[in-house]
């Protein structure tokens, strides 16, 4: 058995034990066996119900992630490379960073209504910070000698920013994006639990209220699978983009 497949053993074992316990009626009501989750998922996929919820959630995540990561990364890069900007924003960032964005959800809902906008804003706000901080330290970590050699070649400030600072910061930017992906799923579920008509988070809450634990598990597992795929896609992009920088350093996800 190849070493890279070793990671499959724990989840497989878990599913088998879980299923066996289900067959022998050893599970509490809210813990339905995997076979039931699979069959319910199949039924909901065929009826199109699940796709609708996935679509609603993915739209919010995609928008929130896009806006939040672009704004956060851009702000962090500028802050990390232009001293006055850093001074200007630093207190504001430090002050608002520790506030849990989910605690601000009621305010966000009051401002942006109960539709998609509020959820997108909540996701945007939450992932702005990890993206900002990663890009900020990424920009700070640029090698002084790379700036020197660029200036020596006659590069302008803009050229240095886009062609030296940005690529230097990319490894850290990707770390930030990875945290942001996980966070955006958490905020998506939380905000949909509070107020939504559609979406995977809504599905979890609604199924729970109706004691339909099989549907609740369908939603939970779907979130897990989509989140896993999103993370893998990001890692693939990362290893492609950072080809030169990762050589001999990080083969873990190669």
């Amino acid at each position: 058995m190849p070493v890279r497949l070793i990671g499959l053993i724990p989840p497989l074992a878990l599913v088998i034990i879980w299923e066996l316990c289900g067959q022998y009626h050893m599970l509490p009501r809210y813990l339905v066996p995997p076979s039931l989750i699979v069959s319910t998922t199949w039924r909901m996929l065929l009826s199109g119900e699940l796709i609708g919820h996935i679509g609603a959630s993915m739209f919010r995540i995609a928008m929130g992630f896009l806006i939040g990561s672009i704004c956060g990364t851009a702000a962090g890069l500028i802050s990390g490379s232009v001293r006055p900007v850093e001074r200007f924003y630093e207190p504001l960032i430090s002050l608002t960073y520790p506030v849990p964005k989910t605690a601000a959800l009621p305010i966000i809902f009051a401002w942006f209504g109960l539709g998609d906008a509020a959820k997108i804003v909540a996701i945007t706000l939450s992932i702005f910070y990890p993206c900002y901080i990663a890009a900020y330290y990424g920009a700070k970590s640029v090698a002084g000698i790379h700036i020197w050699s660029a200036r020596n070649m006659g590069a302008t400030r803009l050229q240095i920013f886009f062609r030296i600072v940005l690529p230097s910061a990319l490894p850290q930017i990707f770390n930030g994006l990875r945290i942001a992906i996980g966070l955006s799923f958490i905020v998506m579920v939380t905000s949909e639990l509070i107020a939504a008509q559609k979406g995977l988070g809504y599905l979890v809450g609604a199924a729970e209220d109706n004691m339909r634990f099989d549907i609740m598990w369908v939603a939970v597992v779907t979130i897990g699978i989509i989140g896993f795929c999103a993370d893998r896609i990001l890692l693939m992009i990362r290893s492609r983009v950072l080809m030169g920088q990762l050589l001999g350093k990080d083969q873990a996800h190669g």
Partner: protein, 273 residues
Amino acid sequence: MSEILDAATAIQLSPALVVKSLVKTFSRQGRAVQALDDFNLTVHEGEFVAIVGPSGCGKSTFLHMLGGFEPSNGGTIELDAKPITGPGPDRGMLFQDYALYPWRTVYGNIIWPLEVQHVPKAERAAIVERFMSLVGLTHFRDHYPAELSGGMKQRVALARVLAFDPKILLMDEPFGALDAQNRELMQEELSRIWDRTRKTVIFVTHDIDEAIYLADRVIVFTARPGRIKQDVKIELPRPRGPDIRKSPEYTQYRNLIWDLLREEVMRAREEYN
């Protein structure tokens, strides 16, 4: 033969770099340290000048000032009669740790200065090809710096700096990070390339052999504050092959410069203790 030599001396008559009463002080732990004091130097076009001196004598600082990275506290530096005020592509800098961009391939690194300087697209590729082959790295064009040895990295850096055709090359211990064998090979390679390009070079090193082997003039710095202790003309024939290191003239130069340097190293040691 004598005609060629005459032509060479004629070219050398025009001064490329003129440094007049240069002063540099910086503060270290609240104390003012005099790095350079009333420093004067004239380098002619096409000359290869090596600078040696005890560590901390200000020779690297001097090179950084030539590069425009460090301001002076008095005096002037002029390149082709124009004062140096900041970094610029008329002075190509070669760093000890190569300063290659890890996210760019060999080809991408060498072409970058041409992109920065808006060299017409059609010309870029040809220039890069020419200098890749000059340093013998054509087969490594798609490799990333992380895949290259130290010597190869410095060859990429050399090709990159030659590609944008600066008037003068500033080299800051470029082979200092290499092992002894690679160092000698790179010195021979640089000597060969210099014979073909005849750029004006200021080469800072702490390796006396390297300085003699490569340079037309070896400038020996005093301990801090840095001044010229002696300006030694190296009259070894060119092109210089590896055998020249075995010649008696070479050994004489070596002894002369080592004696000069030893005094300064001892003086520096007393001062710091």
